[in-house]
Symmetry: C2
Subunit: 193 residues, 2 copies
């Protein structure tokens, strides 16, 4: 079945995010991707310079979708607590909806070389930076950042556990719970620190 170039490009992105998400970067050959897309290898190279290039495009897209989802949710919240709740809910909604993208970025099969490591680290760092200001302002910056990365890890750990076991979950309920945990936890650190 023939497709116009832009459509084919989109289809390749759609298909390859699935393949890479489940088998990882190194275990997936360009032939695998091509086969999954119903074409042959050279077609891939008409749209992407290299395997790395294709992979980076996927990471970029996934990261953007995550960022937008959370940013949009957090925007019109008034209190810090509300931001936290909305943020986590939006995050888990993204995980539920964009399953393969989650696995691509944070799944344990996400084999990473130099370049992709940096890309993923950047995405994680962005998430952490978005969270950092929520943490009590009288904690010093470096510390804030560290705790923020902890909370990102918290959400990541929960999601990975659920997604990799294929368990269903309600993003609203889950988000509320984890937000509660995070919020109360942060206040405790604040008090005791």
């Amino acid at each position: 079945m023939r497709l116009p170039a832009p459509a084919r490009r989109e289809q390749i992105l759609d298909v390859s995010v699935q393949v890479f998400a489940h088998r990882g970067f190194h275990s997936t050959s360009m032939n695998d991707v091509a086969e999954a897309a119903g074409v042959t290898k050279p077609v891939l190279y008409q749209h992407f310079d290299s395997k790395q290039d294709l992979y980076m495009a996927l990471l970029e897209e996934a990261g953007t979708r995550l960022r937008n989802a959370v940013r949009k949710a957090v925007t019109d919240a008034t209190s810090g607590k509300e931001q936290t709740e909305r943020g986590f809910k939006a995050y888990f909604r993204w995980v539920a909806d964009d399953h393969d993208a989650f696995l691509l970025l944070f799944g344990s099969r996400a084999n990473r070389d130099e370049e992709s490591t940096i890309a993923i680290r950047r995405i994680t760092a962005e998430a952490a930076n978005a969270i950092a200001p929520l943490i009590a302002a009288d904690i010093e910056g470096e510390h804030q950042e560290m705790l923020a990365h902890g909370l990102v890890g918290l959400a990541e750990g929960v999601s990975r556990h659920l997604v990799e076991r294929g368990e269903r979950f309600d993003p609203e309920v889950l988000g509320q719970q984890i937000a509660d945990l995070a919020w109360a936890g942060l206040r405790a650190v604040h008090r005791n620190g």
Copy 2:
């Protein structure tokens, strides 16, 4: 420099944990490992059946050290809160001491194929199972497990952030803080859930 077989085996393990930790599985060739150990490839195959076999041995060792460290610390604690504190402190002490092992298991360069994914998942699951009982008993089992994985992720996120940026930290102080966060957080989930 010639070495007796057991010593050579140990040396290979020592050296390769460093190499794999920093460059990841797929980006590290057996020649790289051999070179780092100051020998040639066939020597490696006198001690390990395959690259995978060597890698699994490293994961196994690292996992055992982590498990022992935490288990030992938690053993003679009376209250759940004390267990939490000791557990996290021991964990961060392990991270600080066994740097490369941490990166091997949880670093973002930890490229994983089928087999190693399973091994690492098992280690993480063990950690989570150790934590699960600490979580208020009136939360149902599946939920407990999920929160436990979240806390593992929390510690992982904090460690990764610190280790990959090469920042120094005091395991006692850090462990106390994260334990505070976890403990207070769990109680909040308990109340609100």
